[in-house]
Amino acid sequence: MRKLELTRSPFIKKALKSRIPQLIVLVVMLTGFIFAILAGSTGSRVGSQNFGIVFVWIAWWAVLILVAVPFFGRGWCGVCPIPVVGDWLQRGAILDPAARKPKWLKLRVPGRLRNMWIQNLSFTLVALFSSVILTIPLVTSVVLAAMLFLAIGLSMIFERRAFCRYLCPVGGFIGLYSQTSPLELRIKEKKVCARCEGKPCYNGSDLGSGCPWDVFPGGLSKNTYCGLCLECIRTCPHDNIAVNLRPFSEDLASPSGKLDEAFKAFIMLAAAMIYAFVLMGSNGAVKLAAFSIFSPEWFLYAASFLTVMFILLPGTFWLAVQAGNYKLPVTGKRFASASTALIPLGLMFWVAFSLSFVMTNATYIAAVLSDPLGLGWNLFGTAAITWQPLFTAWVLPAQTLVLVGGLFWSARTAWKTSQQVNINPIPVIGLCLLVTVLMLGLLL
């Protein structure tokens, strides 16, 4: 059996159908999120001692990239606090289904914007200013608050979760990499959905809201845009929705062939390498340039950043695809489909980068936990803990293993994809090897 239906377990099914467990987690997350915003603006002005910085960019990031995305796909989106308030206001309720008569504008997002391009842009902007966002508590606070209010504002204007689906800088890459995760939400029987009247999973019913992610579960074949909010499990009158365990990277077997998703893969791969160079490297001049926003040095840094992300990497990849079959033109679909090979590689690059980033800074979590507002408290006796990197002996071997594993995973994906797009996979695999060696050099 290739898949294990988790919702066969009565306990899991009951826990997922009920709104209460998810609501409890959401409220706890929202509490932490609001506290992070307040701590960012009122707490210690030293980034490494500020709850907002440490809990968002170290603790949350570690959980997200090392656990949530690889193993639960969009599991984080199911408990993300950012859209919650907007969701409640849009529905006019916390537990109850949405009111029949819409309370707000409920506009449809224009067709041209219903893709990942804006998310590509929002992530690029955050990445470009990350040296400041990641280190200055007030900036982190403003960015988090802006995301919260943007999500609320868009919920008032557009239907469903426009922020999560089209704007969230994090949601885009979680969606891309969730294709590799061993967790999925799918229908059990297609014909049941075909016969279902009213399609309550998409349109909503007395049992719950229509899919907030604007996805018809009956047609779901990839994890990319399913936010695991579980509303469809609650609204399906035929008990036809399941949560399954499956082999890793199953969604990659059938590439989407979309350019916006392909560029998401390029952006993420390039960003991981640039971060490894700027944040983990010992090049002080580059760090200073990245931090000196709007200075001439920063513009040079930004130009290099964007060149690597949008020209150098995609351009080299285009050449690799062309070299894979010089007789065929490289169409957008072929190019985008071939880029599927970069998805597991990108994820593993981020895991490798995050291992050193998180292990270097993890001791700050204990210190900040005892004094979250920088007021001299020592709630758990850990406020005075001195900074030291953790598991230093294990980080480098683990990173090497992750990067080499990612290379093999990508090569395997490239091999399978190449047959569908009729190219020789060797040049793409060669490019994957080249960037892996480069990343190894940057991290080790």
């Binding site: 609501l23 506290f35 002005r45 030293v46 490494s48 537990l95 109850d96």
Partner: protein, 326 residues
């Protein structure tokens, strides 16, 4: 029934969220912290602290950037280190009302010396007065112009020896009184000794001996300590003007364009080289005045509210040790 659960949930969520907003806001508002940051980004905040005579003043500090230190001028206290993001505490008590100066004791940046603030201790019955020395400084009573050049007319070929000089001046009719020592430059003293019949090197040895009779081993040791803590960042550990901030000060002065053309171009300049012969053209009173008042825009801080009178004279004595052998 369903609506009731919705209402209860709304109430619980609202209470929870209001609580989480109120908790940090109240905690933050109730805790007074004095923030230290480099002078370029604000220095002390607040930089004026008020207290009452007879009541202990409990202060809590945190640094917003680098390591800083806290001490109150003219007060015998251990400096408090202030680490970035951590909270340090100190309790002070004052035995007389007045305005005290507190300052940073760590070399936190080029403008480290600008990190100053005041503590106003009031007595219910009196208005605050300046807590530091209210006596007329010697340089004022002597009518010295602190900003005028003070070239040395003569200087020794090699470092004079106070020890050799002591043997010379013992029994000789030489004025070693502190009032004479303080008001006369070493070069001036050298001139005064021209009638002694001694050779030039002997006269310089005698000048060094007069210096030594007006200081002590302990005084010089304190002068050395004060210099290392407060002056060496700019003037260099050896007094040669090559401290760690020397280049930055000069560059900042050049870039500021704030020079006031006149007899003295008052902008931040490269710190003085205290090993140059000019120092021998300055009397102790003049040097004490420069320390007391500061460089008036040149970057040289004023130390009058930080050092006691005794500390100032010890520091002045130490400055001459760059030119004399004890």
């Amino acid at each position: 029934m369903k609506r009731t659960s919705e209402q209860v949930t709304r109430l619980l969520v609202a209470i929870f969220l209001v609580g989480i907003v109120a908790f940090p806001v109240v905690a933050w508002a109730r805790t007074t912290l004095i923030h230290a940051s480099m002078a370029e980004t604000g220095g002390w905040s607040p930089d004026v602290i008020r207290g009452n005579l007879g009541q202990p003043l409990h202060l809590r500090f945190t640094s917003d950037d680098v390591m800083h230190g806290f001490a109150v001028g003219q007060m015998d206290m251990q400096a408090v280190d202030i680490e970035p993001g951590k909270v340090s505490e100190v309790t002070l008590s004052f035995d007389k009302p007045g305005i005290y100066t507190f300052y940073c004791t760590r070399w936190c940046g080029m403008n480290h010396w600008r990190m100053r603030g005041t503590i106003e201790i009031s007595d219910a019955s009196e208005a605050p007065t300046q807590g530091s020395n209210l006596e007329i400084p010697l340089f004022v009573s002597l009518g010295l112009n602190l900003d005028a050049p003070h070239p040395a007319e003569a200087w020794p070929a090699s470092k004079p020896s106070a020890q050799r000089g002591m043997e010379l001046i013992q029994g000789a009719d030489i004025d070693t009184y502190s009032s004479t020592y303080q008001s006369t430059s070493p070069a001036g003293m050298f001139e005064k000794l021209s009638t002694s019949g001694w050779s030039e090197s002997q006269r310089w040895d005698a000048v060094a001996a007069i210096w030594q009779t007006n200081t002590s081993t302990e005084g010089l040791a304190e002068g050395r300590r004060l210099f290392a803590q407060n002056c060496a960042a700019c003037h260099g550990e050896n007094g040669d003007g090559n401290g760690v901030f020397a280049g930055q000060l000069e560059a900042a002065g050049m870039a500021s364009g704030q020079g006031m053309a006149g007899s003295q171009d008052m902008r931040m300049t490269r710190p003085a080289d205290l090993t140059r012969p000019d120092l021998l053209g300055a009397s102790p009173a003049l040097l004490q005045g420069k320390l007391l008042r500061g460089g008036m825009g040149t970057g040289m801080p004023m130390w009058g509210s930080i050092f006691t009178d005794e500390q100032l004279w010890n520091l002045v004595a130490y400055l001459y040790s760059f030119h004399y052998e004890p």
